[in-house]
Amino acid sequence: MRILLVGNPNVGKSLIFSQLTGLRVTTSNYPGTTVEFYRGYLRKGEEQHEVIDVPGMYSMEPNCEAERVAVRMLDYGDVIINVVDATNLERNLNLTLQLATVQKPMLVALNFWDEAKQKGIKINPEKLEKYLGVPVIPVTAVTSEGLNTMVDRLAEARIPPFTSVRPEERWKRIGLIVREVQVLTHRHPTFLEKLQTFSFHPVHGFITGGLVLLATVFFIVYLGKFLSDAMEALLTRWYLPVMQKLSVFLGGEGLWHEIFLGKLVDGTVNLEESLGLLTTGVYVALGVVLPYLTIFYFILGFLEDFGYLPRLAVLVDRIMHRIGLHGFAIVPLVLAFGCNVPGILALRNLESRREKFIAGVLMAIGIPCMAQLSIIMGLVGRHGAAYLLVILAFLFFTWTVLGLLGNRFVEGYTPSLLMEIPPYRLPRPAVQLKKLKMRITSFLAEALPFVFGGLLLVNLLHALGVINWAAGLLSPVISGLWGLPEEVISTLLIGFLRKDMAVALLEPLNLSASELTVTTVILTLYFPCAATFAVFIKEMGLMDTVKAVGIMMMVTLTAGTFLNLTLERFLSPLTLAVVLIAAAVVLGLTAAEKAEAEEFEELPAERNSSISGF
């Protein structure tokens, strides 16, 4: 039997899925966390049922890619479990009544049962059951309460007796049902509810938003550095001696030594500069990237589950319209700071192809992932914060200019924002830890092979002479336009695979501070890493990918040359950073009004685009 978990976005389908199947999928407190379907198995006595976590949808008429996936999957199931948010019965029943027209056995899970009670919302499940003609089971997904009853009553699932009606008629019916089954008791607003109102205050909201961002940056930079230093000390104390012994054992040279331990630096192996799989590979992944990434995902996880991201989307909506996006696009962009891959996938929540393209290009070009950023902070930070600032300022500038150009020239429409604002919820530590663990595990499982593979490849290409050949070929660009030594070519090659490793490879090259800055910016801009590139093609299609790559090439050539000509020749890093930020802000402010006047609201009725899966 195939069981589909269907419901509005952000009603807890993924958490129920995790509880039923024991599989971990990301859950958050904002609509659109799940954009793909997930499949798992539920054991019930002797039987085994397939359970599918379907992306959330508001109606049977899809408004974005994620909803399109959801609607298409309805045909696939044998039983539908319609997950309903008990704290928001009215809007949720809108989908329930539409699902009735699918004519499949259905039951309703009233999730957030405990929260509804706390909020003074009393729903009579037996009465609701009578009105809907299908079993209604109150559940609380976080504590698993009611889930067993739900599974036991699966056999009672029935085809609902409703027929398709016009929207106004449907809402009228919903109104009648809600009035019959639900009683609201008045009570004073809780602290969280007061905070909710506060976040949208025109002044306080922005101040809070700014503080949240500042705090995030502060935690990542300082706590990340602290953890990273601790990790480095551990590795140097316990791990390095083992590698040094191994090096002596292997005789200090030879093919195996070269691949696993790398080159000798001052007569011994070195974690940062030897470039072997077990030396630099392990050091980069565990000593630098892992600590920063953990902090980032810890904070992101909290903000996600608390429900802050939709508020952030509201605050930045106006600014985002200037670059052809709307507020909700901030969510994929924030995710991209962790890793571009989930960022690109989350673009499925955006309605139009134009938005997806602009956001995708901005993400792939201008948002370095946390892994890459952590190495940049470690490496460039040694030369002073001004160089770090100039890198970020330059990315911000590129980002703004590209966004403004995209808004101007990319065809299509950007609808204005329409988004559900979930209530603030206190994150549960257990759920938080599991999510963090899942994200870290997936980094280790997916990134490590690329880190090692990349190092292996670069060592091989060196041995085969390919790198020298490519260096000669590209020397007019690298030395001529960018003013960099030819050796950086190897980092550009490995950057196709993994950006963090590519930046780490700059360490033994002994570049000057400004050379390091230029190379880092080029490494960020020129091409996404292999994993991102693959997802980009899958989500955007070949044509848009070709266009995006063209844009990347042009941006990289211009950016590298510009930085080479200005940084330290005319302007100090700090001055350049200030100039770039000021220029971006001025450009953004002056270009705004025209773009907004052209905002186009008509959504084409139906767009057929192919997606993989079903």
């Binding site: 508001y58 109606s59 008429e61 408004n63 704290t87 928001n88 019965l89 009215e90 809007r91 809108n94 929207p167 106004e168 809402w171 009228k172 809600v178 109102t197 949208f200 205050h201 025109p202 909201g205 939709p310 989307a313 509201v314 605050l315 909506d317 106006r318 319209h321 709307h326 507020g327 309605e351 609808p415 204005s416 924002l417 329409l418 988004m419 559900e420 604002i421 979930p422 209530p423 907004e596 905002e599 609201e601 008509e602 959504l603 084409p604 009725a605």
Partner: protein, 82 residues
């Protein structure tokens, strides 16, 4: 009808409750709004607005929504008595 003022959601004062009367938009936009509970006949309460052309926050169908400026200019509501 006479003594009731027809305004757009963008111009509705904060804290006011009103009934949606008309939505000037294409099928796609109306459908999207309807899916979230904004349709002619629905009751909405304006919670707040981000200044200028920012989104409007409304309570509708038991939940809270953020509606972009472009859309709020096309949603006509009539203020209920009081």
């Amino acid at each position: 009808m006479n003594n009731k003022a027809l305004v757009t959601l963008a111009d509705l004062p904060r804290g006011q409750t009103a009934r949606v009367v008309r939505i000037d938009g294409g099928l796609g936009m109306r459908r999207h709004l309807e899916a979230l509970g904004i349709y002619p006949g629905a009751t909405v309460t304006k919670v707040s607005t981000i200044f200028g052309r920012g989104p409007t926050i409304i309570n509708v169908a038991g939940g809270q929504l953020a509606v972009g400026y472009g859309k709020t200019k096309r949603i006509w509501v009539e203020v209920e008595q009081g």
